[in-house]
């Protein structure tokens, strides 16, 4: 019976079994390739003129750390709510995810974070260096001046910002239309800068005498007066009454005027001002015709703005150069010369020349000139050439022997006139002045290079201040360095917008909010190129149990006593946050 049986085998069991530790065998000595943790640079962050740490921002976003993500923006850019709306987001053009499916909607997430911070009244906790004795005056409370003052304050300086207009903001307040940037959004960003200790003095008459006075009171003066005067066409009839300057028109609207339009209005130019003027006219009852001398693809206005203008029924006619304006008391006749493409210009746009003597007369009710702006006063501009003058990427520093150093920035010095370039200019000026005060004029250029994001041109304030970001490798991660096996095709979030019919009758903001759910899902699409998001693949894949979790900021280290250098961890790192190098390199 079963109960009686003997279950033990009569043959003893011999099996290979070892109780000895194998740890005496330091298999790490076999290694000729050495893996290691090395965070690198995401391409988006090098495409952002403000050098925002985008990969990190998206990662914090996915973890629901909205405040920390917002503060990560603020370390490099004081205007997340503004840039989340009006920036032309060159970052997205360099997004590696674009080669996989579609680029991350970085601007939508930036705006979400800024709006969330505002709604929850977050107070940023950002490291500020101890107070320094130098005081800096900032002339012009536009984006470059405010950014300069903001970053100088972070570096411990006392800053006074002087502004001639009754309210701070520069082009953000007096140029960019409300449907792109509501005034409450701007005011909230500026008041946060003021709460940090920046003093803004508005309604101040800015003159050369004022500068002279400031030179003795301050250690340095940042000049960021911007471009606010419309360039002349230099054609007959441009000064006839009713032929107006586009930029001034935008300002009047932002001052509260609400002129009405009827019939066709010509807007001459192809930049953002021209497009904004045309779109304002549509909202005020007119019909807009943009007349541009080159082709549509050569227009310097941001593409997305052009797209939206076309949606709003702005008509664009290309290869037409204005030649003459006449007024018969009833309507204006704009005579245009037909142009044709003749090769390429130095900047890659079409070079043009007149197409014989083919001209055309366009009858319109009004004409706006918007072929670009320049400094309202010649003395705003940096000197052409002076001793002890340093031309940097987005600013010009003059170490005047008369007292305070002068540093010019914003549109006065920037090749690309954009808000984010203005921020870059303010940041560069702040860092340059800090180097100038502490290490001297000659150290500026080489020291600035050390805080470049990747290979530049953007600079990182966090890197300059020695934050964790300064530990990253400069190597910019490319698409084929991402292990896309770990990512699924997911469509990019669609920015909800007002319907065109609504857009045509109102100055309400066009871009609507996205939900936290959508924003987090969008952030999850981010490859976080070159950054570790603690996915633990290295730990899971290591065949030698040589990835050891610890309490360091990395969260783990490699036990090189036993790591054989197989490189699995590096290959299986989805984000290229590791490196495999030859041993002894």
């Amino acid at each position: 019976m079963a109960e009686k049986r003997e279950s033990e085998s009569v043959v003893p069991l011999l099996i290979p079994r070892s109780y000895m530790s194998t740890e005496s065998n330091l298999t790490g000595s076999w290694r000729f390739l050495k893996p290691g943790y090395a965070e690198k640079t995401a391409p988006c962050s090098t495409a952002c003129p403000a050098g925002e740490d985008i990969g990190q921002i998206e990662m914090l976003m996915t973890q629901g750390m909205f405040k920390e993500a917002w503060e990560t923006i603020l370390r490099e850019n004081p205007f997340p709510a503004v840039c989340g709306r009006v920036c032309y987001h060159p970052c997205e053009g360099k997004c590696n995810r674009g080669e996989f499916d579609e680029a991350i909607a970085i601007h939508s997430i930036e705006r979400f974070l800024a709006d969330t911070a505002s709604r929850n009244e977050f107070k940023p906790s950002i490291d500020k260096l101890p107070s320094k004795r130098e005081k800096v005056a900032v002339v012009g409370a536009g984006p470059s001046g405010l950014a300069a003052a903001y970053f100088l304050t972070l570096l411990g300086y006392t800053c006074d910002v002087f502004e001639s207009m009754p309210e701070a903001g520069g082009i953000l307040r007096w140029g960019i239309p409300l449907y792109r940037l509501p005034v409450s959004v701007l005011r909230s960003e500026i008041s946060r800068i003021e709460e940090m200790g920046v003093r803004i003095h508005t309604g101040k008459h800015i003159s050369q005498d004022f500068i002279k006075e400031a030179i003795s009171d301050y250690s340095a003066i940042f000049v960021g007066c911007g471009h606010s005067r419309t360039r002349r066409l230099n054609i007959p009839g441009e000064d006839i009454e009713g032929v107006e300057n586009g930029f001034e028109f935008l300002r009047k609207i932002r001052e509260g005027e609400k002129p009405s339009f009827d019939g066709l209005v010509a807007v001459i130019g192809g930049g953002n001002t021209a497009v904004d003027v045309a779109r304002n006219i549509i909202r005020l009852g007119g019909k807009s015709l943009i007349v541009y001398r080159r082709r549509r693809q050569d227009m310097p206005a941001f593409d997305q703005e052009i797209q939206m203008a076309i949606e709003e029924r702005v008509e664009i006619r290309e290869l037409l150069a204005p030649a003459k304006v006449e007024f018969n008391g009833n309507e204006y006749t704009l005579t245009v010369q037909h142009m044709k493409v003749a090769g390429k210009d130095v900047d890659g746009r079409a070079a043009i020349e007149p197409e014989g003597d083919k001209t055309e007369e366009i009858k319109v009710q009004r004409i706006f000139k918007a072929i670009g702006e320049e400094a309202a006063e010649a003395w705003y501009n940096p000197p052409d050439k002076e001793e002890n003058m340093l031309t940097l990427g987005n600013s010009v520093l003059v170490n005047s022997s008369r007292g305070a150093a002068l540093i010019f920035g914003g549109d006065l010095t920037n090749k690309t006139k954009s808000v984010v370039h203005a921020v870059a200019s303010g940041k560069e000026a702040a860092i340059a002045l800090d180097i100038f005060f502490h290490e001297g004029f000659d150290a500026i250029e080489s020291r600035l290079e050390t805080c470049a994001v990747g290979d530049g041109p953007p600079l990182s304030m966090e890197v300059y201040m020695g934050g964790p970001r300064s530990q990253r490798k400069r190597h910019v991660v490319v698409y084929n360095e991402i292990n896309t096996d770990y990512f699924q095709l997911i469509p990019r979030v669609t920015q909800p917008r007002l319907l065109i019919e609504e857009r045509l009758k109102t100055f309400e903001e066009i871009d609507l909010k996205i939900s936290a759910n959508l924003a987090m899902r969008e952030a999850e699409r981010c490859f976080n190129c070159g950054l570790c998001n603690q996915c633990d693949n290295c730990y899971l894949f290591c065949p030698d149990l040589s990835v050891i979790r610890d309490n360091s900021s990395q969260g783990r280290h490699i036990n090189y006593d036993y790591c054989k250098g197989c490189g699995l961890c590096v290959v299986e790192c989805p984000r290229n946050a590791m490196v495999l190098e030859e041993e002894g390199q």
Binding site: A2, S7, S9, V11, P16, R17, Y19, T22
Partner: protein, 385 residues
């Protein structure tokens, strides 16, 4: 309880009754029904086991070696190419002394692709240290599978329960399915003699130098030797509860037989009818069914065959360059016996070709009409090509 079951389900029922803990398998015709039944049992709670479907048979067996080392009862099933892919781990599992039970449904090896029955797949694994048990019908399948756990766990060797493709795996027969309570009495929970213990860490399967390896191999050989007697013990225990036994071999009418047919698998059933018919016509013919192929029950085979004037071994398999594999084994068992009978080897039914009563009778007459084998292997039923 008597139920009409497919051979595959007889295996699955036995695995359920054995309260197996971990099943890992990869589907392959004609074995697939077995794991389909089992996966359903696992999914619907009939069995409280983990079913791990892996990416290959190699992984299936590797998984079970790991699982068995933690001290749980394990099962897999395969056929043909799948078994061949397991080859490396067949050696590993016997060397590691883990008592995994496998249902192996005999199927021909490719190419040409052929899903029908042929014993070459399992017989080609005869040297891997697995106990091999060949079954004749559905009842034997269920009983043998239950016994396989008891036997393997006793001697710490893996066990292959072998059944013919389709003729057995896909044929419905009345099968007495034992009660769980009785099976529990026959087969207590697995009491492993060694297992992974995180409190007392050690490495299994570590390096063994020439001064210890041979002893370990001798130990396996001894365990195989012991299996011969343990098989009897297991059958005794089983018979005590269920009143059924099969024997490592089964001699039928051999005592006065002038010719003994040696068979395995389902051919045995047809042969039973053939010898009855021949006996009715006054022919002195017997039958020796071989169930236990590894370890090979040499003593009892010698005992049965020593008095037979002629032996005819029927092989549904071929070892190319040699002969049918059962024939080789029978010859080897007899060769040291003075005056042993001549052994006629017949190759039949490869790749699922039918082995009919007429064909088996033909084997009898050929053997009777020849003093000695014309050739080592006689292939029967070949067509002109």
């Amino acid at each position: 309880m008597k139920r009409v079951l497919e051979g595959s389900q007889a295996v699955a029922e036995a695995v359920r009754l054995a309260r197996v803990d971990v099943i890992s398998a990869y589907p392959i015709t004609p074995q697939t029904h077995i794991v389909e039944f089992l996966s359903e049992y696992c999914a619907n709670g009939t069995m409280n086991a983990r079913f791990l479907r892996v990416e290959s048979e190699h992984s299936a067996l590797a998984t079970l070696i790991g699982a068995a080392t933690t001290g749980v009862r394990t099962f897999t099933a395969t056929s043909s190419q799948g078994l061949a892919l397991m080859h490396e781990l067949l050696h590993w599992s016997s060397g590691a002394r883990v008592p995994i039970v496998m249902a192996e449904v005999n199927r021909a090896l490719a190419p040409g692709w052929n899903i029908w029955t042929d014993q070459t797949d399992s017989l080609a694994q005869r040297d891997t240290g697995w106990i091999q048990l060949y079954c004749e019908n559905g009842q034997e399948v269920i009983d043998t599978t239950i016994q396989a756990f008891r036997l393997g766990e006793w001697v710490n060797l893996p066990v292959m329960v072998v059944l013919d493709a389709f003729f057995l795996s896909h044929t419905y027969e009345p099968v007495d399915v034992p009660d769980q309570e009785l099976v529990d009495r026959f087969l207590p929970p697995y009491a492993p003699k060694f297992q992974v213990d995180t409190e007392d860490p050690c490495a299994f399967g570590s390096l063994v130098t020439p001064n210890a390896y041979m002893e370990m191999r001798y130990n396996i050989a001894e365990a195989m030797e012991e299996t011969l007697s343990r098989f009897q013990d297991v059958e005794d225990e089983y018979a005590a509860i269920f009143d059924r036994r099969y024997g490592s071999v089964e001699p039928v009418l051999c005592d006065d037989a002038e010719i003994v047919l040696v068979t395995s698998g389902t051919i045995t059933s047809t042969s039973r009818q053939v010898i009855d018919d021949l006996r009715a016509r006054g022919e002195k013919v017997g039958l020796l069914k071989i169930k236990l192929f590894r370890p090979f029950p040499v003593d009892i085979i010698r005992q049965v065959l020593k008095t037979a004037p002629k032996v005819a071994v029927i092989d549904r398999n071929i070892s190319f360059g040699a002969s049918g594999i059962f024939a080789q084994e029978v010859r080897a068992a007899l060769c040291n016996l003075a005056g042993h009978p001549p052994v006629f080897g017949y190759i039949v039914g490869l790749g699922g070709r039918d082995v009919t009563a007429d064909l088996l009778e033909d084997i009898y007459w050929r053997t009777k009409n020849n003093e000695a084998p014309e050739k080592e292997s006689i292939w029967l039923g070949l067509q002109e090509v």
